[in-house]
Amino acid sequence: MDDITPEHLLYGSILLYLAAAFAAILFSRSHKLCTIWSQVLCIAGAAAGTASSVALLFSGQESITISPFEASIPYLSISMTLDHLSALFLLILSILTFCVSIYSIGYLSHYHGKRNIGLFQFLYASFILSMILVFTANHAIFFFMAWEIMAVVSYFLVVFESEKEETRKAGLIYVVMTHLGSAFLLMAIMLMFYYTNSFALTPVSLDQIPESGRNIMFLLFLVGFATKAGVIPLHIWLPYAHPAAPGNVSSLMSGIMIKTAVYGLLRFVFFYLGVSSPWWGVLILLLGVISAVLGVLYAYIEQNMKKLLAYSSIENMGIIFIGLGVGFLALTQEKQTVAALALTAALLHCFNHTLFKGGLFLSVGSVHYATHTKNMEELGGLIKKMPVTAVFFLCCSLSIAAVVPFNGFIGEWLTYQSIFASIASGNAAMNITLILSAAALALTGALAAACFIKLFGISFLGLPRSEQAAQAKEVPFSMNLGTGVLATLCLLAGLFPQTMIALIDRAVVSVVKASAEPILRGSFLDLYRPINFSALLPEVSFSGSMTAKPAGIIAAPLVAAIAMILLVLAALLVLRLFGGAYRERRYGTWDCGFKELNPRMQYTGTAFSKPIKIVFKIFFRTSKDLKRSGDDFYHPKAMEYTIVNESPFEKYFYIPLLAWITNWSRRLKFMIQTGSVHTYLLYIFVAVLVLMLYNRMV
């Protein structure tokens, strides 16, 4: 058994996914068999992938390379390198795939007999495979090919329920936006070759590419990857595509596909281009702040559960980008430790987001499976009908709301600490930007909590607001198992963040050549030494007099969790001792004197988010319409109230842009494309002439 190396496991993982894809086609006649075979192979592939990445991260090896075959095309090399950064992302991907595949066994049963499961499974396995290729490609063209496969396959998965008009529209927006991003990437990759004559993804030295070339390449990479990440203002595809896709696919898309952008930025900007101008970092930070704040605001006013989660993904990508931006800024000031801290925060949040958002999308898939609606205004009281789903949903919601002791908190705490460390050691001008980003992050965090109070509270608590919700039944075991594993991981990762940090640290070291672990060893991630930046950061100078402290217990989330359990027990004991036995009477909720409480008296999701909507009305283009029927103004027979929340980005940017392009294309049609053969001949002649002249001059 000692012969199994990470290489073998990686090969095994890829082959298992390939087998899953072929099994899907092979068994496509029997939907049940097809689902089980294909998903079990995917689960095995995920397990192999997890093993491979963990083995590499702990082996001490720098990287492994596998080249299955030589490409016969010049300038292309099909070889995969798994270094620490790739391994981390492969690990995230594999964990998520593992859970989503378990979940899918149950989830797909409601498609059986109705749809082409074979095709779905084939696409599903290829989608995962394409992401593995994205994470491991060590050659820019190969990376781009994998990137495109991922884009196209995910498009097919998004439009799987293609009979719905809105799904087709979502698919169109998605495919256009994602290819727009790809176009930018392609340009950047072409520039890469122009300057260096190579597509290899090894760091370039500063003199190989001139300053202007670097800046242009950075912008191209940023636009390309930010489109995939769904960073505002390039986000418009995300709130359409995620709700349209089946539950397990949106979980994969939001959980890991958008993270390929983070990987891309790290690989192509931090690793390949290197760090030069500080404004790159400011730009990344700014994009992050905008996405975080606006993303959570749009999520908060959303009533469609999946759309809410999609906007929340935008918000979380924003938080990750804040971490990346802070890290970049620290690197430009040569504060490696602070940069390592910030990148650890970003990558940890990446990891955490995969766990809880994957779990949330799966849970919402379960709710949809049970009630056939994604609109939270039609739900309510599900905690009694689907108790297990409710618990897992709550765990994931608590994680994303960053409350102690779940994992979301650790990521946000580290982001705050990295900003704090940057401020403590930075210059004044940058500090204003940084403190404002910290404030924005605080606003985001509190709004995210509010957002998930709303999502869970409205859809799972109270009285059912519709017949479907009242009739809902708990979902099959495999679905709960998939979600449950993710929810448990969320809690464990929150209680024992040291393990996650140890994994992430290796990836961070490979990018910034510094480790944040020594600092964190002193923080509450470790159990017994207080965090103190003044002693830990050589770059930071403090004039505050600090005395060495004796070893004490630092209130880590684990300690806090244990303390809370003890406190609950203490409270129970005290109440039993002094208050006697617990007596309880069940009675109706106070109904304000009406006959009885009915679901329509409850707060709705719309009402819940109304205050924030009023306070931040500048960011929403809301149009209201109230229709009354009947003659009497005061006693109308019926009233109809419609609210339309439009995205300002679409209204003021994308739609005008589209109109402008269409308009100009139409005009050009008459100017250039006249239909006369003579004109076309002239074009050819002019083109040939210009090319010849250009060749002469060069």
């Binding site: 109070i453 007596r583 707060y603 306070v615």
Partner: protein, 331 residues
């Protein structure tokens, strides 16, 4: 078990005593505020210790639980209490005794957020209109006040280079009188607004009414009764005392005064008298802070709900200016 040294054990014991002190004093500050308010209205008012009597009575009463409610409703009081009390563990009452528990201020905030999360959920759990209203408003207020809270924490934390509560308090002692320092006076006033918002006081929320137009916190716990209500009320009191303690120990440090009066030799055991004096000063400061809050409540009216953003913005500006001052004036 070399980890559990004698120092650590004695530190833990002193921490536990401070924790018990906070738990014990928590209902007092609310009583003082109520008494002062009553006196200002020429009423006699309830005794200062009224809340102790209330709690004593409530825990012996039968609980009424809504038919609609799920386990969330019943679990919430315990979770809120545990989260708030765990937060109280991290707040040293006095810095004279080295603290064995070093809590991060951000962790404290997020522990309180756990309590708030469940409180809002329990409000929605009964299906009552009031609950939804309260939860929605609470969500907005807490979101708006958060940026200012964070900027204040960062500004105060900058001097000590950490966000650990006890170390921040320790370094603030070195500042001398922080309220005479332009950085900290701004943060102090920002903090007062934050406390008014976080602990549901006038002008943000009115703790004394049961009117749907005005209430926020009360609306959320409207359906609670018996021992569950007792726990919710008690947790609110603890939370208030945590914030007041942070305020007075960060911005009005007095421990250096007593240690000057007492034996100042390093490493020498601190006499019990000095500690007693420090505690007395602490209680005095809490009474003072309660008076400040009472006077604020007397002299203002509750703001219209949509004026609260202005208040939050004011608090943010104060904290932000404090932060800028820090770099203008140097450390």
């Amino acid at each position: 078990m070399s980890f559990f040294t004698a120092d650590l054990i004695s530190g833990l014991i002193s921490n536990f005593i401070q924790f018990l002190l906070i738990l014990l004093l928590a209902p007092l500050s609310g009583g003082i505020i109520k008494k002062v308010k009553a006196l200002s209205q020429k009423r006699k008012g309830a005794p200062v210790l009224q809340m102790y009597f209330d709690l004593w009575k409530l825990i012996r009463k039968e609980s009424v639980v809504s038919d609609t409610a799920s386990w969330i409703f019943k679990a919430t009081p315990y979770i809120v209490f545990a989260a708030t009390a765990a937060a109280a563990f991290m707040v040293p009452v006095t810095t004279l005794v080295p603290s064995a528990i070093s809590g991060d201020l951000l962790l404290l905030i997020y522990l309180l957020a756990l309590g708030r999360f469940f409180m809002c959920l329990s409000a929605l759990d009964t299906g009552s209109t009031f609950g939804g209203m309260g939860a929605s408003r609470e969500a907005m207020i807490s979101a708006l006040i958060e940026p200012s809270l964070l900027v204040s924490i960062f500004t105060v934390g900058l001097i000590s280079g950490t966000t650990a509560v006890d170390q921040m308090m320790n370094t603030m002692k070195a500042v001398g009188v922080p309220l005479l320092h332009p950085v900290y006076i701004l943060c102090f006033f920002a903090m007062i607004i934050i406390i008014l918002a976080e602990t549901s006081r006038i002008p943000v929320d009115d703790p004394a009414t049961h009117l749907e137009l005005t209430m926020v916190h009360e609306a959320m716990i409207l359906e609670y009764s018996g021992r569950q209500l007792a726990l919710m009320e008690y947790s609110a009191a603890i939370k208030q005392l945590i914030f007041l303690t942070l305020l007075v120990n960060l911005f009005l440090p007095t421990d250096q005064l007593v240690s000057l009066a007492g034996i100042s030799g390093a490493g020498a055991a601190i006499p019990a008298v000095v500690i007693a004096a420090a505690l007395a000063l602490y209680i005095l400061k809490i009474i003072l802070a309660s008076l400040v809050i009472a006077i604020t409540e007397i002299s203002t009216v509750k703001f219209r709900f949509f004026s609260i953003p202005n208040l939050a913005a004011l608090s943010f500006i104060l904290a932000f200016l404090g932060f800028l001052q820090y770099f203008v004036l140097g450390r």
